[in-house]
């Protein structure tokens, strides 16, 4: 780095536009800039210093002196990458530097380009020529600079124009160049899939060599390619197999294992062949990273091979027993994957899992929690939830909610599939609400109401749970629980007929602390009070048979059944009276009703003038009813007759109508219900409205959630947003004497520096992190507790059969969204790969490559979003030409196709050489059409497999 030692501020007396000689002489170096930034406190002082420096740099950068320019660009690179300053204005100058013959300037230019150019930087176009020049340079370092730059900022144009140059470099005699050319291919392919046809064969050749350096780069490329579309690379299995068996480089082996993890899923015979070598590697290796990769490969792709899984689970157990936290974490992760197919492995290690629930590290706890949830089944859900509630009570708020969230999610999966005893589950929900840290109000609210609507048998218990929640004044103080209280109020109102003591609920709904509730929830309270009052008056006023008819009717009614208010239905079911309602009838005397009315009226009168219109409206409705009832009932009070004829009263008629209306039952509503409404004749949807887009483009429509009782999927929020932020100010001092500062720094943090004589081989050693020795006493107890409860035992007789849970056929809570497959470059790459590998196998390509290549280019181009119209036109004409050219060759392709039947490994090699032949064959295939990939793929590697 060039460094002039002056840090004097530049004089400002120059004309704007170009730097003066003075400025050039006294230009701040990068070091000066960094020191200056550190001198100023973060915040406004620092940003004003940066903007002042930027002004200077803007002048300096225009200098004709490349040294000045390079320093300016270097400073900008620093500001861009560490202070996120937009330096797009300097893009051209960076390109200018790359063309300098002086290596250091060139390097600074390329670094600025690599770090700061975006796909839409327009001067990238200017860079292409320079890149080509450097790619053909005799100096290896120039070449590698260019390759590095391509791998960072490659665009479609660069990839298309420079593919031949990169291709040439793949046979370079200089390892450093060759390796980088290989690594850079990944980017080139992704931008320009047709490059595969040119370079793929040479890439494959590198798999066959025993040079670790090349192998690492090549395998890295294949690993990435495979992760996108593995099927295309099945024919290369023999090469990968050889590497797996012969290679001793751990970095390479890890990548190869990843490739096999993908391939084995596609080809069972391949799995059979490689499972043994993978086990060998696992047994043999000292390096934890490699062992873990073997474990992960086996448990995710080779889970059918019992012996391999046993071995892997053994290794996982070793990891779990390590003192190193990282290994324990990975062990748990491995266990989670095994658990999907081999639950026994999780159960075998359950003590460790449960113990990990109270680890200091939140990540480990979360993994352990996932594992515990994976063990849940309908037989042990009650016990596990009991244990987890115990943990939730002891955990920090964040993890506590994590536990609650997983419980809620697991239990509600597939419409409460694993819940048999809903009475238990509902009371569990009530219990969760009472956990002080509970922040899952929304989900609990949803489930309480959802269960109420779906499961008829649980309603009495639900009302009891709701009552307990409502009646507790302490809960009203916790805003996180308000949503749950809202559900409790709704449930108590809707199913008040199951309540033992409706007046008690009424009192709870009007307790003074309800003024702590937000209006939206108060509204629910008031409406529930309306339902309770209607019920009480109904029980009191209506003759027995009538009062009961409305709800006995209800109980028989299927959800979704529209209730008809006809008199006939009332009388039809009139004999449905039961003892509980008789009891209730006795419960309400005229005094108790009068008290109830007084309670309603006195509590609501102050709210009648509420500012919230919703509250006001509902209060007025309820007050209207209550006042009328009070008037009429108390006037009859004077008559001393024992039996009063209520039938003539307005209240009587009103209540009868209201109860009729309220008795209509809610059921779960499919989220697709709206779609099923037939479109009326004459209404043309989706017409002309597209024109509105131009008008409404800027208007953001509010997303409404109120149309359906089924609300959108509840996603867990990122709890970390609450975690405290470290707010330390920069406490560093100015590095006036940087050497002494360095020394001091080292002294202070000596612990963290590497020991001076580190002979360990990086790829075979693994450094353990600090291990914490901590296990709480009470954890032990819980482990014991869970040991008993986690045993998978089927209860011989369930106390009672599972109640009916109403399910919808479709559009239930988690609507499945059809994932539209988007044609991406990845498909094009794998298509091209197949083309090269199976050049003469026409059938296999018919599906993948049935698209004209013009479309490919267009697509790839659009993605980059830089095409001016003019360029697009030229592009199209180009591809059009190539299309014509290709079609001329069709007749040749036909002959080739017939002569070739290369199905084996040797054949593949040959195919690669006869690339052009394969290409023509492909076009032929396009015409013949109709073939299935899978069948053809299997023919490709039989020699290797059998």
């Amino acid at each position: 780095m060039t460094s002039s030692s002056s840090s004097t501020t530049t004089s400002n007396n120059t004309t704007p536009g170009g730097p003066s000689l003075m400025e050039t002489l006294f230009q701040r170096t990068v070091d000066d800039l960094i020191k200056g930034i550190r001198l100023h406190n973060p915040g406004s002082a620092q940003s004003s210093f940066i903007s002042k420096s930027l002004d200077e740099i803007r002048r300096e950068i225009k200098s004709t002196d490349l040294a000045t320019k390079s320093i300016a660009v270097n400073k900008l690179t620093y500001l861009h990458s560490l202070h996120n300053i937009d330096i797009s204005f300097a893009a051209f100058h960076a390109v200018e530097l790359t063309s300098s013959p002086i290596f250091n300037f060139k390097k600074i230019g390329y670094l600025a380009a690599s770090l700061s150019f975006s796909p839409s930087t327009d001067v990238i176009l200017l860079l292409t020529n320079q890149l080509r020049k450097d790619l053909t340079s005799a100096n290896v370092h120039d070449v590698s600079l260019a390759l590095e730059c391509i791998s960072a900022i490659c665009t479609v144009d660069i990839a298309r124009d420079l593919t031949p140059d990169v291709f040439n470099l793949m046979t370079s005699s200089k390892n450093i160049v060759k390796k980088k050319a290989i690594a850079c291919l990944l980017k080139v392919f992704s931008q320009f899939p047709d490059a595969v046809r040119v370079c793929f064969k040479r890439l494959v050749e590198n798999l066959e060599k025993n040079d670790d350096q090349m192998l690492a780069a090549t395998v890295g490329v294949f690993c990435e390619l495979c992760s996108k579309e593995p099927r295309a690379y099945l024919p290369l299995a023999p090469e990968f197999y050889r590497i797996l068996v012969e290679c001793r480089n751990n970095w390479v082996l890890i990548k190869v294992l990843k490739i096999f993890e993908k391939l084995a899923k596609l080809e069972p015979r391949l799995a059979k062949k490689v499972v043994e070598p993978i086990c060998d590697v696992m047994k043999r290796s000292e390096a934890k990273s490699l062992v873990f990769e073997c474990v992960r490969t086996i448990v995710s792709s080779f889970y059918e091979y019992e012996f391999a899984v046993k071995l892997a689970v053994g290794k996982i157990r070793e990891f779990l027993l390590e003192s190193d936290l990282n290994l324990r974490y990975l062990g748990l992760q491995g266990l989670l994957i095994v658990g999907q197919h081999h639950l026994w492995a999780v159960l075998e290690n359950k003590e460790i899992v449960i113990k990990s629930l109270s680890d200091v590290d939140r990540n480990i706890k979360v993994e352990a929690l996932r594992l515990v949830m994976s063990m849940v089944s309908e037989d042990n859900v009650v016990e596990i939830c009991r244990v987890l509630i115990g943990y939730a009570l002891k955990s920090d708020p964040e993890f506590c909610n994590e536990i609650l969230r997983s419980m809620l999610l697991t239990c509600s999966r597939n419409v409460y599939e694993i819940v048999n005893d809903f009475d238990w589950y509902v009371s569990l929900l009530g219990e969760m609400a009472r956990i002080p840290h509970c922040q899952n109000g929304e989900e609990i609210e949803y489930q309480l109401i959802d269960i109420g609507m779906r499961v008829k048998d649980v309603r009495p218990e639900l009302v009891r749970v709701g009552r307990d929640l409502l009646i507790d004044p302490a809960l009203l103080g916790n805003p996180f629980i308000h949503r749950i209280l809202s559900a409790a109020a709704w449930v108590s109102g809707e199913y008040v007929r199951f309540s033992r003591n409706p007046s008690e609920i009424m009192e709870a709904l009007f307790q003074p602390r309800t003024n702590l509730l937000p209006p939206s929830i108060r509204v629910v309270y008031i409406h529930s009070a309306f339902k309770v009052l209607s019920f009480c008056l109904g029980t009191f006023l209506l003759p027995n048979k009538d009062a009961n008819s409305s709800f006995s009717n209800l109980v028989d009614m299927e959800p979704g059944f529209t209730y008809s208010e006809s008199e006939q239905e009332f009388t039809e079911t009139e004999h449905g009276a039961n003892s509980s309602s008789l009891h209730k009838k006795d419960m309400f005397t005229r005094e108790s009703i009068a008290n109830l009315l007084t309670l309603v009226i006195t509590s609501l009168t102050p709210l009648a003038d509420s500012h919230d219109v919703e509250i006001q409206e509902r209060v007025r409705n309820l007050l209207g009813l209550a006042l009328l009832a009070q008037q009429e009932i108390s006037s009859h009070h004077e008559q001393k007759e024992k039996r009063i004829d209520w039938v003539g009263l307005k209240t009587y008629i009103l209540i009868r109508l209201v109860n009729g209306a309220l008795s209509e039952e809610f059921g779960p509503i499919s989220s697709s219900a709206q779609e099923r409404v037939p479109v009326p004749d004459g209404l043309v949807l989706e017409e002309n409205l597209s024109k509105l887009d131009s008008i409404c483009a800027d208007v953001q429509l509010p997303i409404s959630e109120k149309f359906s009782l089924v609300r959108p999927t509840y996603l867990p929020t990122d709890g970390d947003s609450l975690s405290s932020r470290q707010n330390e100010d920069e406490s560093e001092t100015s590095p006036a004497e940087s050497t002494s500062l360095l020394a001091e720094h080292r002294k202070r943090h000596g612990l963290f520096y590497l020991p001076s004589d580190n002979n360990k081989n990086a790829s075979t050693s693994f450094l353990p992190a600090n291990d914490p020795d901590h296990i709480d006493k009470d954890v032990e107890d819980l482990v014991k507790l869970t040991e008993e409860s986690l045993v998978l035992k089927r209860k011989p007789n369930q106390a009672r059969p599972r109640p009916v849970v109403v399910k919808l056929d479709e559009g239930d809570r988690h609507p499945t969204i059809a994932v539209k497959k988007i044609e991406s470059n990845d498909d094009l790459i794998s298509g091209a790969v197949r083309d090269v590998l199976l050049g003469n196998e026409p059938l296999s390509q018919s599906n993948q490559l049935g698209k004209p290549s013009g479309r490919k280019k267009g697509k790839a181009h659009a993605k980059v979003d830089q095409g001016s119209e003019l360029k697009d036109n030229t592009e199209n004409s180009e591809t059009g030409n190539s299309g014509k050219r290709r079609s001329k060759h069709r007749s040749h392709g036909k002959e080739k196709k017939h002569s070739d039947s290369g199905n084996n490994v040797e054949g593949r090699e040959e195919n690669g050489k006869e690339k052009s032949g394969g290409r023509h064959g492909r076009h032929k295939a396009k015409q013949s059409g109709g073939g299935i990939d899978v069948v053809d793929q299997k023919q490709v590697i039989p020699d290797f497999l059998l």
């Binding site: 590698s144 450093i176 390796k179 850079c184 780069a217 990540n363 470290q726 330390e728 720094h745 990086a762």
Partner: protein
């Protein structure tokens, strides 16, 4: 892509080096760095070195006052990345001699050159310290 980004951040949460292997806008970078720093720096020595964030896995390790954070795909091998971080630190150590935050600050471009030798397109391509440092030493000799 295996490695998505490499960050070096000091104890105060200031970024000292940022290398991305996929294009993110400045806004996205700023947000991402902020979130990650908040998440990782709050953790202590007794906690493991892996953090899940968005769709990334962050593998990190602290050396002196510097945190080395590597954002990887979910598929990537965490232990290998830890080894990679260690290799990176060893390489810097060999070049700077007991590397520290200030070395990286004042020689940011050299740190980038080392990374360029080690990682391309998010794939680790070179693991030999001698090979990584050869071009940089040549450059030092030249200037």
């Amino acid at each position: 892509m295996g490695i998505r980004f490499i960050l070096m951040v000091n104890k105060q949460g200031q970024t000292r080096l940022a290398q991305y292997y996929e294009y993110l806008t400045l806004e996205e970078r700023r947000a991402l760095e902020g979130e990650i720093v908040r998440k990782c720096l709050a953790r202590n020595e007794q906690q493991c070195s892996f953090v899940e964030h968005r769709n990334y896995k962050i593998v990190y390790r602290r050396y002196a006052s510097l945190f080395f954070l590597v954002g990887v795909d979910n598929e990537e091998n965490e232990l290998a990345i830890l080894e990679f971080i260690h290799l990176l630190v060893e390489t810097m150590d060999r070049h700077f001699g007991n590397v520290c935050e200030l070395d990286i600050m004042f020689h940011l471009e050299k740190a980038h050159f080392m990374l360029e030798e080690m990682v391309m397109n998010g794939c680790i391509v070179e693991t030999s310290k001698t090979n990584i440092l050869a071009p940089i030493q040549l450059m030092d000799k030249a200037s």
